[in-house]
């Protein structure tokens, strides 16, 4: 199963799927989830919904698992002499861009490279420092006339760094934020094949998290879950990142605690983790989490939320890094938690 999960993850890391352009990644996830669920559909904004029915009496309670599938990237804003000017889709630190391999999704897919012009072609105030995105260019290696024919303003540009298997079961690549969590949901659905669960499980690969939470605001409205678990990645300790906002890599999942999280649900989830010896780090989230949970919580009359995160180094670079076993832990913890949910669980969830 480990091997399958790794190849599933690597397949997702090799696919584009920028916010609002999720079709390629959605197709891959649908393929993986189809045999594991009872119903698949696509929401009005492009999120993938998968229902795995529980065995409780109808009407059954519903839990929503939300893992966003969209990627950050770039979009073409102008073309000069065959070179593309670009802007960002989602949060991109321009300092990671010079020399990055990308795919330009023009009238056909064009391999390209983000390039930093030589200093004498840059304004004097930036020539030695970080070069802002507005001065970076994309070179697709074609003659200018051909570029004009194949690329238009508004075409999206995705990262093309192939996934890497590193030592100690670590995996690196672009868009592990948040395909790592999609893999965790897949793993959870797989485990639930062999576990009884009274509740209906709605697995959602949500759209547009990186830009405007369009998926996270709309899927819960359509599904109307009793509570929701958002799955995302969080900052792992590593070079340049050591403060309280970071958790260790490969040493367990992170369970967020703060205003986005329902305290009684948190207590129930950590109890499951403790009982099963699944390692986790409590993750203080004193404000908004910047995840689907922040949106889901305020849909309709309000939805109690949990947030389970996979620790990840170098977030929003094309060499994001996670430990495969943390993904498995996230999937297993949620599967165990769901299979242990009594039908009347929500009646026990109280403010105290």
């Amino acid at each position: 199963m480990t091997l399958d999960l790794l190849s599933h993850l690597k397949q997702m890391l090799s696919a584009p799927g920028l916010s609002a352009y999720e079709d390629p990644i959605r197709d891959i996830i649908a393929e993986a989830w189809r045999p594991l669920t009872d119903e698949l559909s696509v929401s009005r904004v492009g999120s993938l919904h998968a229902l795995k029915r529980g065995d409780g009496a109808e009407p059954r309670p519903k839990v929503l698992l939300s893992a966003h599938m969209d990627a950050i990237g770039l979009m073409v804003t102008a073309i000069t002499d065959g070179f593309l000017h670009v802007t960002q889709v989602g949060g991109v630190d321009a300092r990671i861009l010079p020399g990055q391999l990308v795919t330009v999704h023009g009238r056909k897919e064009l391999p390209g490279t983000v390039v930093m012009p030589p200093e004498f072609l840059l304004p004097p105030e930036v020539e030695k420092g970080a070069v802002p995105l507005q001065y970076l260019l994309v070179d697709v290696g074609l003659q200018p006339a051909e570029v004009e024919e194949l690329v238009r303003v508004g075409d999206v540009v995705s990262f093309a760094q192939p996934p890497l298997e590193l030592t100690g079961g670590a995996v690196a690549g672009h868009t592990l934020d948040n395909r790592a969590s999609v893999a965790a949901v897949t793993h959870c659905l797989e485990l639930l094949q062999r576990r009884k669960h009274a509740w209906d499980v709605w697995a959602v690969a949500s759209a547009q998290e990186e830009t405007n939470f369009a998926g996270a605001f709309t899927s819960p409205f359509a599904i109307q879950p009793d509570f929701a678990i958002a799955l995302d990645v969080t900052f792992a300790k590593g070079p340049g990142s050591t403060d309280w906002r970071t958790v260790p890599l490969g040493k367990g999942v992170a369970l967020a605690w703060g205003p986005n999280i329902h305290p009684a649900l948190y207590e129930a989830l950590t109890k499951t983790a403790d009982e099963l010896d699944i390692p986790y780090s409590p993750e203080p989230a004193p404000g908004m989490t910047g995840t689907d949970a922040a949106a889901i919580q305020i849909v309709q009359a309000g939805i109690p939320c949990l947030l389970v995160s996979t620790p990840l180094r170098y977030m929003h670079t094309p060499v994001e890094m996670v430990a495969l076993k943390d993904i498995q832990r996230a999937g297993r913890l949620i599967a165990e938690f769901i299979s242990g949910l009594p039908v009347d669980f929500m009646q026990t969830v109280e403010w105290k």
Binding site: P117, P123, A130, D139, T167, A172, G240, T317, A323
Partner: protein, 361 residues
């Protein structure tokens, strides 16, 4: 080492699928200055059948000789450096995280967020960056320095690498008609062109081929190779930057492009290390014009090639350089036009076939 020489191919060398495949092997190999073994081995395997004599000298240069069959020959040394810029691991910080130093001239802004390979086993690793979410707008205006970056091999990386290991970018060559994108095109293009020249060596010269080491850290291999060969004429074949991009202010003309893609081989008249011999410059330009090969004059600029060491060897060697124009040299992904590569090889080959001792009189 010596070997039974095969007759050289008399046809003009051309660039085809076989050459692109060899260039891919050369570019994907790692040969950071001081540890050129991977490329040296490929070179030795490729050239052995076509040489009268091949040796590896004390610094690791591959020195190969093809003796022409005609009388009245000129002894021409052609140098192509095998080494590339890269990194050396400097400190093991535990759990697969290493600090590193750059080898050769690399702008640290090219390093952030890149996949790299470490050591002879090409162990995959990454150079990460602090997440944008944890940085301030003020921080993001400052370029990251090498000392702020780390090479990360994953949690068990310390068993797979050690201090002193070399590393380089992990980019694999891709032929993107009409271009080629790869790391280390500077100077595997020179290496493959020199291999092709040995395979098609003209009989009117003694071709003294030096596949040199340590160019990127001070032209050190070429200096001793030139002493050893004692040539009458020296030529470096290399790759030179094409800064042919638009300026940020589109109304400003880019007058410092150095070279431009699609304009053919770049002939040097002056760089930071060498003023080319004028007789040799005339010889190359006349050849290009006679053969209908496009060429450009590399803008006189700083920078240098192995010619900088060769022309001052012994009592002096009239020297020149010819380069393939390359965008984004010394980065993870440099770019050339296949046509410029083919024309560079063609120009040097035809120039050699026209060479007579009179050029130096």
């Amino acid at each position: 080492m010596s070997s039974q020489k095969q007759p050289s191919m008399q046809l003009t060398p051309e660039i085809g699928a076989q050459q692109v495949e060899l260039l891919a092997r050369l570019c994907n190999a790692m040969a950071v200055s001081g540890d050129e073994q991977e490329v040296r081995q490929i070179v030795l395997d490729e050239i052995q059948p076509y040489c009268d004599q091949v040796e590896v000298d004390g610094l690791g240069n591959v020195l190969a000789m093809h003796v022409g069959s005609q009388a009245q020959k000129v002894r021409v040394m052609i140098a192509a450096h095998m080494d590339e810029v890269g990194f050396m691991l400097t400190n093991d910080e535990g759990e697969g995280v290493f600090s590193f130093e750059t080898v050769g001239g690399i702008d640290p802004r090219q390093l952030v967020g890149k996949a790299v390979i470490v050591g002879r086993e090409h162990v995959p690793a990454v150079i990460g960056a602090k997440p944008i979410h944890l940085t301030t707008a003020e921080e993001r205006k400052k370029a990251l320095k090498v000392e702020e970056l780390r090479i990360d091999l994953g949690p068990e990386g310390s068993s797979k690498a050690k201090v002193g290991d070399r590393a380089t970018f992990a980019t694999q060559l891709e032929a993107l008609e009409p271009s080629i994108r790869a790391k280390a095109l500077d100077n595997r293009l020179g290496v493959i062109n020199l291999i092709e020249l040995l395979r098609h060596a003209p009989e009117n010269i003694d071709l003294l081929a030096a596949f040199t080491v340590q160019e990127e850290v001070g032209l050190r291999g070429a200096r001793v190779a030139a002493y050893r060969f004692d040539p009458q004429i020296g030529m470096a074949i290399d790759a030179t930057p094409a800064h042919d991009l638009p300026a940020y202010d589109v109304d400003v003309e880019n007058t410092r492009y150095n070279t431009k893609l699609d304009h053919g081989p770049a002939i040097y008249l002056m760089d930071g290390a060498t003023i080319s011999d004028r007789r040799l410059a005339e010889w190359l330009m006349q050849t290009a014009e006679a053969e209908g090969i496009p060429y450009q004059i590399r803008q006189p600029n700083p920078g240098g090639t192995d010619a900088g060491a060769i022309h001052r060897a012994r009592a002096g060697v009239p020297s020149i350089s010819v380069s393939v124009p390359v965008r984004y040299a010394h980065s993870a992904a440099s770019l050339i036009r296949q046509e410029d590569w083919a024309n560079t090889l063609k120009l040097v080959y035809h120039a050699l076939t026209r060479l007579t001792p009179e050029i130096l009189s």
